[in-house]
């Protein structure tokens, strides 16, 4: 049994009310009765990592590359979800004085999603700035896999150090 599925099974076991046991602080009867059904999990599998980049040269990580950011979404079989991003435009050097930044950009095919299987090669490309709608897999594999790449453009005078930022992915269950 895969780890996410095992976790789901264990969680469902936790959610089953047991006679004689407290159902929570305040004894709110009926609350746990609603806590049933499939669980929803978004797991970050890897961060988007450009590694060391040369100054003055744009560096791109494709969504198919090993350094791409990746998520796994698990939920109700065949359900639709919307996938949207909050993307940074500048990365900040956290080892230099304030104001040391680097542009980062995302293109029309910088993101990919795949239904059911963890296979980026067969995934559908989309523009992360516009988002997309995905469909979770069938009962055997109720997953969506998601990847993102991007391009950084360090200036020739870029200060050495670690440049970082945050990508926020939002999954809305429909």
């Amino acid at each position: 049994m895969s780890r996410p599925r095992l976790v789901a099974v264990l969680l469902l076991g936790l959610l089953v009310p047991r006679p004689g046991l407290s159902q929570g602080v305040g004894g709110s009867v009926g609350i746990d009765a609603n806590v049933i059904g499939p669980v929803l999990t978004i797991t970050t599998l890897s961060n988007l990592n450009f590694g060391s980049v040369p100054k003055g040269v744009a560096t791109t990580v494709q969504p198919t590359a090993a350094g791409a950011g990746a998520w796994q979404i698990q939920g109700s079989k065949n359900a639709n979800v919307t996938i949207t991003f909050v993307l940074p435009a500048l990365l900040t050097n956290i080892q230099a004085l304030p104001g040391s930044t680097m542009p980062v950009s995302f293109g029309a095919t910088s993101a990919r999603w795949n239904r059911a299987t963890n296979n980026v090669a067969g995934a559908t490309a989309f523009d992360p700035s516009g988002g997309t709608t995905g469909k979770l897999g069938p009962p055997a594999n109720p997953y969506i896999y998601l990847w993102i790449g991007g391009t950084v453009t360090p200036a020739a005078t870029a200060k050495p150090g670690v440049y970082t930022g945050t990508i926020i992915v939002t999954i809305a269950y429909l």
Partner: protein, 275 residues
């Protein structure tokens, strides 16, 4: 851990993450005027803590001009909107879920006095920041290194029901088109009653003998009017006449039956000609 240390850890963690995220259940919360409360359970299956923030907004699934289902957000709903976003609160709103532990978010509704019977909606946003990763390398301060961390936000529906609630749906404008190796299906769906239509759509392409050649099934939620586009994989279909049947029902495998408002099934069909 200081911010720099955390970022270094993220950047030099050469191995893929062991997995950062939080398990959320259920994926829709139903509350009523009797208890005015609900709960969402979070479970952290990882070895690092997860920071979680909770918020609400008013929004609902709708379709864009291409028939794609999106969440339409209404930042300032007017008084006629069935929004519960401003009077449902979460406790706590910020928390840290330790590794391999669960935490319960309690939802409490404080509706305005004189609220009319019906169903009111909100969207619950669960923002989760991943855990800290161990440093697996040594920084070379002469180099330029770049990495981005990923955060996740999960949005689920919250439904508050007061008094007599009922739902239904009308189906019109069913039409199809062969697009490549798929059959595109469009229909206009309009919610009836004072509650959202939560159900399933089942489309099937049948031949003259009634044999099913292609089908698809998807959960739907119709809050106002939407015109979704569905696609059935049909491959290389032989020229001829077929029939596309679309069935809408309130059956949902992922929701407990007592949470789903029942409504009679609605069906329609249309002829499909493949030249």
């Amino acid at each position: 851990m200081k911010r720099t240390g955390l970022s270094l850890a993220l950047l030099w963690g050469a191995a893929p993450l062991a997995g950062q995220g939080v398990v959320i259940a259920p994926h829709a919360v139903f509350m009523d005027a009797r208890t005015r409360s609900g709960a969402v359970l979070l479970y952290n299956p990882n070895t690092e803590p997860v920071e979680v923030a909770i918020s609400f907004f008013f929004g609902y699934p709708a379709t864009d001009s291409a028939g794609i289902i999106v969440v339409r957000t209404v930042e300032h709903p007017d008084s006629t909107s069935p929004s519960a976003a401003s009077w449902i609160q979460a406790f706590p709103r910020r928390l840290t879920v330790p590794p391999l532990e669960r935490q319960t978010i309690r939802l409490l509704a404080s509706p305005p006095p004189g609220l009319a019977d019906g169903e009111y909606w909100a969207r619950l946003v669960i923002s989760a920041k991943g855990g800290q990763l161990p440093v697996t390398g040594v920084a070379d301060t002469a180099k330029v290194r770049v990495g981005l961390t990923l955060e996740v936000r999960t949005i689920i529906g919250v439904f508050y029901r007061k008094g007599a609630v009922y739902t239904g749906i009308s189906l019109s404008g069913l039409r199809t088109a062969v697009v490549g190796d798929s059959l595109a299906v469009w229909a206009r769906l309009t919610q009836q009653g004072n509650a959202a239509y939560i159900g399933s759509a089942h489309a099937a392409l049948v031949d003259s003998t009634g044999k099913t050649l292609a089908e698809m099934k998807a959960p739907i939620g119709v809050y106002y009017t939407m015109e979704p586009r569905y696609a059935l994989p049909i491959g290389a279909l032989a020229p001829g006449r077929y029939r596309l049947r679309l069935d809408l029902s309130t059956a949902r495998e992922d929701l407990a039956p007592e949470l789903v408002l029942p409504s009679p099934p609605v069906r329609d069909s249309v002829e499909v000609r493949v030249p």
